[in-house]
Amino acid sequence: MLTLEGAEIAQGGFRLTAELSVPEGARVAVMGPSGAGKSTLLGAIAGFLPLTRGRILWQGQRIDTLAPAARPLSILFQDHNLFPHLSLFDNVALGLDPSLRLDPAQRQAVLTALDETGLSGLEDRKPAQLSGGQIGRAGLARVLLRARPLILLDEPFAALGPALKRQMLALVGRIAGETGATLLMITHDPEDARLLSDQILVVAEGQASPPAPTGALLEDPPPALAAYLGT
């Protein structure tokens, strides 16, 4: 279980508070108006922004004092998830060994992850030679390889078309299922939420609310979410 206890992030005039927990294995869509702090929330959980107050716990262990890489999670950003000068293989392999010194078993694991994400045969390509969908898959291949119990998605598929995005979400669902990971995914699209998530976490008016079941929330949204969705 991921728990945010009296957590507060303050930056300049901006302030976000969170008092919530996410059960293990849950798939949570993070929704809310632009600028409400969805990315800020994920950034704090991932360790890029310090908490000004409160704690973050995973399975009862405090994680907000750990370096980003030491936290039990993988994160995909909107952009820049791959290093443009490294091959696809190296980009994915960074998930196993950040200094890229792999033994044969690790190399095999990388190839397997590429295979499972439909990227076989593209190992030597640079990101510039890949399509948007392939870049998305590559990020997910690394998430799969790292097999951390928590996956944070900061809209990595926002630039893809609807069909491709559905494919990616299906792949995310499969990976989360295989590894039993807990998923936090920022999205603007209620369809994405229906497709993949069982709960929605609303970020609005400086506050991150505890996740509530997707169906019920979308049927009867609270005022902030209703205003955002335009329903």
Binding site: A46, G47, F48, L49, A67, P68, A69, A70, S74, I75, F77, H80, N81, F83, P84, H85, L86, D90, L94, G95, P98, S99, L100, K126, A128
Partner: protein, 515 residues
């Protein structure tokens, strides 16, 4: 997010910083210490100050004013050789000053091409020595720089504005008022300031084409006070004034936005350029600037190449010393720039420190170092290492200009990803920073090597007969009116400078793009 810098890097940065501060302030202090007061600020010193400011002002105005039509023509015309011409515009930066001076003398000197033509026409011969020669040489070096700076301005005009002005049927006047004028108002002050600043510390040009009470820069006056009169009081005072105006100019410059080193968007599709008279003026601007830059260089080659096989042993030894100096200087530059770049990712001061050298005067530093080492070692023994050190410090601002934007961009794009994957500082440097920095690093080191190879500055204070570098040897040959052999040495120096630049840019920078 910021990562704490490792202790090793912090230590190295502190050492580099201490070395640079000592080099600048320590040298100035040493000169002041030995100045023994006394000497007053005389009429000749006023003249040197006036001349320094006046020639820098004229050089800046002429360089930028002449650059405007050339940059505009290059921006809106497409013709074979355009790319090569733009590359050539970058070349004077790595061109040794004396090579250009020899080229200009071959064209406009007493027995140059131009004066021969004038004489044929029965007109009096013009003299290149004095203010006009100094400004001419500075324009030769800085016109291309100004063209490149202004080209960036043109390249940044949004394509929509160009298409819009074509769609609305703007004439030359309307186009200037709505599109080009506002852009120039932003870019020209920065370009003027850069050229002015570069010309403030002019030494080699003034040494060869200036001189005399009417055409002596402060730098040259420092050299003369030191070398001919060994008047340390005067040298110190001149050095303090030189340092003062350099600092004032730097403060002025810091308020202006400086153009960046890279030119993007030059090859986009522009709307069809205006025809009519502007076609003729554009062709004239391009043709005249190309001739102005190419003819002197061609003259160096024409006069110098036949001499290559007849160069005396002294020239070859001088060349060897130049190569050794440039190698040491480039290594030092690599250490300075590397450490400061890494440190600048989390702190502001390394950048300011590196840029401070932009106004530092090599002659001031050289004089100070001479005084510091003189009681202990014969300065002549240290001529090459000291020259290498000063050259590295002088090239540092340019190296940082090339490296820092790339480093900051790499950090902004990928620091979070590196942190989330747990890359150590070493792995981050090896896998992320280096691949993204090796191209600017190759450029910076190549530039540093070429600048050091062609430098005629500190060395003249330290070296005795038999210890000359190649530029210094060339100066000796010119002074002895051995113009043929000096042209031969110029070809050798040109080859060494260009060779060092190209080799480092290729080897360090890597052959293919890194994206």
């Amino acid at each position: 997010m910021t990562r704490p810098a490792p202790a090793l890097l912090k230590g190295a940065a502190a050492l580099v910083a201490a070395a640079l501060v000592l080099l600048n302030l320590g040298a100035l202090g040493a000169v002041a210490w030995r100045a023994e007061g006394g000497a007053g600020w005389g009429a000749a010193d006023w003249a040197a100050l006036r001349f320094t400011l006046w020639q820098a002002f004229l050089s800046a105005v002429f360089s930028v004013a002449l650059a405007i039509p050339v940059a505009r023509a290059l921006a809106r015309r497409r013709f074979p050789g355009r790319g090569a011409l733009i590359v050539l515009m970058g070349a004077p930066f790595i061109l040794p000053v004396l090579v250009a001076v020899i080229g200009l003398l071959a064209v406009m000197g007493r027995n140059g091409l131009l004066n021969d033509l004038l004489a044929l026409a029965g007109l009096p011969r013009l003299s290149i020595y004095g203010l006009q020669g100094v400004v001419l040489a500075h324009v030769f070096f800085n016109l291309p720089l100004a063209v490149r700076l202004l080209l960036q301005g043109w390249a940044r005009v949004p394509g929509e504005h160009l298409r819009l002005s074509a769609a609305l049927g703007f004439g030359a006047r309307a186009r200037f008022r709505h599109v080009e004028g506002p852009m120039l108002a932003r870019v020209v002050p920065g370009a003027l300031a850069v050229v002015f600043l570069i010309c403030l510390t002019s030494f080699a040009v003034a040494l060869t084409l200036g001189g005399g009470p009417r055409a002596t820069t402060l730098e040259l006056a420092i050299y003369q006070a030191f070398r001919f009169d060994f008047d340390l009081g005067r040298a110190a005072m001149l050095a303090a004034v030189q340092a003062g105006i350099g600092l004032a100019a730097l403060l002025l410059l810091a308020r202006l936005t400086l153009p960046e080193g890279r030119i993007a968007g030059l090859d986009r599709d522009a709307p069809p350029p205006p025809g009519g008279l502007s076609k003729v003026t554009d062709a004239l601007a391009i043709g005249a600037s190309a001739l102005f830059l190419l003819v002197p260089l061609a003259m160096v080659l024409i006069r110098g190449l036949p001499w290559l096989s007849d160069l005396s042993a002294g020239v070859w030894w001088a060349a060897l010393r130049s190569v050794a100096t440039a190698a040491l200087s480039t290594a030092l530059l690599g250490v300075f720039a590397g450490v400061l770049t890494l440190m600048a990712l989390t702190r502001r001061w390394p950048e300011a420190l590196g840029m401070a050298a932009l106004t530092a005067s090599p002659l001031v530093i050289g004089t100070g170092l001479f005084l510091i080492v003189n009681p202990w070692v014969d300065p002549a023994h240290l001529a090459l290492p000291v020259t290498a050190l000063v050259n590295a410090a002088m090239a540092l601002p340019f190296a940082l200009r090339a490296l820092l934007p790339a480093a900051r961009r790499a950090e902004a794009d990928f620091a979070r990803l590196s942190a989330s994957l747990g890359l150590s500082m070493a792995a981050h440097a090896r896998l992320v920073l280096w691949p993204r920095l090796r191209r600017p690093a190759g450029f910076a080191l190549g530039l540093g090597a070429a600048l050091s190879m062609g430098d005629l500055g500190v060395i003249v204070l330290f070296a005795q007969t038999g210890g000359e570098t190649l530029p210094m040897q060339m100066h000796r040959l010119m002074g002895a009116y051995r113009s043929g052999e000096s042209a031969g040495a110029a070809v050798l120096l040109l080859a060494l400078s260009l060779g060092a630049f190209v080799a480092l840019e290729r080897i360090v920078g890597g052959r293919h793009a890194d994206t």
